[in-house]
Subunit: 217 residues, 2 copies
Amino acid sequence: MKKIGVVLSGCGVKDGSEIHEAVVTLLSIARNGAKAVCMAPDVELAEVNHLTGQETGAKRNVLVESARIARGDISNISAISAKDIDALVLPGGFGAAKNLCDFAVNGPNGKVVPEVQRLVREMAQASKPICAICIAPAVLALALGKELAPEITIGTDQGTAQAINATGSKHVECAVSDFVIDKKHKVVTTPAYMLAENIAEAAEGIEKAIKATLDLI
Amino acid sequence: MKKIGVVLSGCGVKDGSEIHEAVVTLLSIARNGAKAVCMAPDVELAEVNHLTGQETGAKRNVLVESARIARGDISNISAISAKDIDALVLPGGFGAAKNLCDFAVNGPNGKVVPEVQRLVREMAQASKPICAICIAPAVLALALGKELAPEITIGTDQGTAQAINATGSKHVECAVSDFVIDKKHKVVTTPAYMLAENIAEAAEGIEKAIKATLDLI
């Protein structure tokens, strides 16, 4: 059975993984006959109250909160290397841009959390597929942009697209129901909630992107 | 467009709503052309670390944590009445048995949180369909058992089934891929993670149960 790494960044769109995107990812992996290997970095996040949208000032742990989405079946990303998995998926949510890297603050000059950068680069070096959803392509842009210049999408947002291009990656516009595939670098991306107005729209693109990613293995 | 109330109980299987069940519920509602109306009670939950499985001793708020699953689009259940929605769905997770009622502690002698009990009874009195997933049928059993004795399932667990029967409800065994429908009382239930070994198994029964619930409107 193919093993698909899923990098989570917390639990909730405003300070962690976008929950719908993460769950549709897990469901698509299972329905394609593969096994999800959930992981997250052991770092802090700044808690956001999802009812008010305001930061509370409190901290939570990204690995501990991500375990909610994984039903406890999750590893510290530092324990996973490219040899353990056949493909890697990064769901979106602000956690991807705030907890896996600091793209939300520093844009194209941002840095990726070291263990996340290590695994993304290992996957690229091993020529194993990587899928990124919603804003998570920004993590790939920071980790791989200058070296590999992959073609990726975050949908149609001009400012974010310019920041992606400034990393050395190439942004391609894409509809919510579709995905962008860079066959040379085995990178698959889909806009999901960067564009989606409801969960069914987000799911359509994610399901297609996961299928395309597994087909690259 | 049909409006389907979704009662959340936090965010995470061990102290709130089971996230996969809740998201598959929202996706199924959208794919059947209906609109989800998310709600939760404004009460406290006892936080469980989902990495260790241990209670932390800290409290979180059920409505605030449920907002993570709802992407902020959620109401206090006290603001919703049966006239506002066409059907009601209760996803599972320990939150259903600990935060929506105290079935986890007091079994058939448990009590339902007053605003949850009010809405469930309003739906039954209005002859509007109610769907409950996983352990959430226990909430219906406590809210409706003595009065209506609905036929419901939590799968095959004998101890839980006996506790359900002791409320006056009638437990029916059911496979994970299937659901139980009580057409007289318009109550639909499916075992999901009471039996499911992975998200695809849980989703199969939930998708069928949501479709059956919407067909009862």
